[in-house]
Symmetry: C2
Subunit: 431 residues, 2 copies
Amino acid sequence: ERQPCMPTHPQRPLVLKTLIQFTVKLRLLIKLPELNYQIKVKATIDKNVSTVSNRRFILCGTHVKAMNMEESSNGSLSVEFRHLQPKEMKSSAGGKGNEGPHMVTEELHSISFETQICLYGLTIDLETNSLPVVMISNVSQLPNAWASIIWYNLSTNDSQNLVFFNNPPTAALNQLLEVLSWQFSSYVGRGLNSDQLNMLAEKLTVQQTSCNDGQLSWAKFCKEHLPGKAFTFWVWLEAILDLIKKHILPLWIDGYIMGFVSKEKERVLLKDKMPGTFLLRFSESNLGGITFTWVDQSENGEVRFHSIEPYNKGRLAALPFADILRDYKVIMAENVPENPLKYLYPDIPKDKAFGKHYSSQPNEVSRPTERGDKGYVPSVFIPISTIRSDSTEPRSPSDLLPMSPSVYAVLREHLSPTVIETAMSSPCSAD
Amino acid sequence: ERQPCMPTHPQRPLVLKTLIQFTVKLRLLIKLPELNYQIKVKATIDKNVSTVSNRRFILCGTHVKAMNMEESSNGSLSVEFRHLQPKEMKSSAGGKGNEGPHMVTEELHSISFETQICLYGLTIDLETNSLPVVMISNVSQLPNAWASIIWYNLSTNDSQNLVFFNNPPTAALNQLLEVLSWQFSSYVGRGLNSDQLNMLAEKLTVQQTSCNDGQLSWAKFCKEHLPGKAFTFWVWLEAILDLIKKHILPLWIDGYIMGFVSKEKERVLLKDKMPGTFLLRFSESNLGGITFTWVDQSENGEVRFHSIEPYNKGRLAALPFADILRDYKVIMAENVPENPLKYLYPDIPKDKAFGKHYSSQPNEVSRPTERGDKGYVPSVFIPISTIRSDSTEPRSPSDLLPMSPSVYAVLREHLSPTVIETAMSSPCSAD
DNA sequence: ACAGTTTCCCGTAAATGC
DNA sequence: TGCATTTACGGGAAACTG
């Protein structure tokens, strides 16, 4: 008769975190003619202790509340519990309940709502339960918990099978893909097209030892590591969702991120394109990483591909991805302009003072293996002050005023042919 | 008879945060011959309610504990309360106690310890109190709270004057400076020299309308904003302590950061030095910012100074400061190598796809005013792949193998006039 | 309206448990 | 011992409250 739902982490309902409050709204689906008294509803967690767990929780906050009229619409009764927060009761009695699955994120719990309605002298006991919920204690568990919710609701219409993960069923691959696309559209505002879904499908079904029947096991989705990797498919995908949401949301929504392309497909796509054509792809080896791959031609006309070392959250926090695309450069050491900093006051050679603090980060000089571990082009951030000097039309000193004289002086000193200090080389011919 | 002390935030004792646990250790300074029974000590906060506040706190956790033998040394009795956590009791009765200071960080509280000792048939009540403590609810209040602790202990020997901040006394400037230096040495491992202290003294005493008597008011230290700034002296200094601790600790400890120098002094120091001589200075206008200033000469021999836009925590998290010093470059727009990314697959001009997402960050082209708001040289991070190409000794193609052919191709395409001689293997002629 | 203050809660690190 | 899980708490931001 009622319709429970419970957001906690926005867009990740049915996952509850201990000590973090959540909200549940309940609507009475039958209409009552008499409303002379309060209908009080009580919320309980795991009321019937038949849970697959020896963890016990209670709900703190006002878990008994009266229903009131819905302001909007049809005047039906509802009640919203706010600020409920689950707390774990340390069960000193180590009576291991049902053994079941070992991960807490595969442990299903249930929230019950009870009430009594006295109607025409009749006393009616009402009770309803939420869909299974997963209880976690730290956001780090959220990805796996959410996977459980997805898998459950994808696989069964059962509203209360708390032992579901004792023996989780397989899911139809095409249904799963639909859910994944829906995940993207609800979480980051744009779903996945068929090319992207095909790539994910391939990734999910490699090493599918048997059953090529379009079914996928829970283990393949969320338990077993991807071949050669130290993480599961789902963790990999969640890291990408997170990356998109936090760092490249508008680009994603605009559809400029192809994202899910295999390295092989990538080459097929790029090989006939103009040199300088590139695409954006999520890293398959780094969690939450994005790279760009571009094509060019070597002097003998051979087509070549280059992928930048993937950018992750940390780097993108320092420099937005669009800016990286705008400003990315490949330069030769000889053409790097001189560093204007030479002596720490009063006269300590810079490297003498700071040399031991330089990070091993491969700036300036490329790594021993020119391409990184995965064939990526190494890339670093360099602090630069860039000056525009428009040489197409000669200018008088006064015309240069928009550029401050002192900066101009820096340029003169370090970049002009008549350099005083040890110049590395003459500047490469511009253009 | 006892000796209380209480670390919570390491190195910021006497500041307690609600709901965050702390530890207190108590030692009995008299020796007892008989120890046949347990001496239980009770910890209370603001036991005598004569506090300058209507905030009420209680201590949660085991606040009654028995003393035991000290394992080390002389077998004296002690007790350590761990996991105590202060909680605020919302006093619904709005009976504003003592009016006093308005800031909670100027509200002094006190922790009391009580016990009873039965010795030779005599019952002795013992009680001792902590030095005044400040209760905060968020780390954002810690700097001001710690300032209160410093000022109190600098100004008085009174062990319990909880109304101290109703009318805080002035402090002797030289004593304060000593404390500041001690702050640096205890918090970031290196104190301040006299030059640095002189700069701070000047900063503290500008606009010192009257009393040039070497006394400084609490307000000047921690209440009034610095002239023309939106923060107090202390907040400015704390931001620097924080910056040092988190991003440039080893450089600070080595003494390579002059840090506290006025812009005027800076020029005096640098003007006779070799071009390329620089020093590191904390920004006076940006909270927690550090800049470097270098000297060079314009072509007509005029001495010029340049200061980089200060780096703050966010930027230093992306690029360590030592690396910034190592890699900083000033380049001209004309000499910037081409960006290899031109068309988003299949053939969308890059700027068409991403142009609207570029940040307004002034990369590539300098700002309208060539030097920023405060006369700083603007500076940005640029993602770069750098390739060493050693032209001093020609190499055969096979020597080029350590560099991947594709990277080589990039170089060919975008950078080289005609010929590239590349080698990874040759060590760069060290220094 | 607003500023001081507290609460909320993510996310990393450390502690704990098994 | 190692991994699974919880706890701790800094820090940014929202909510609260006079």
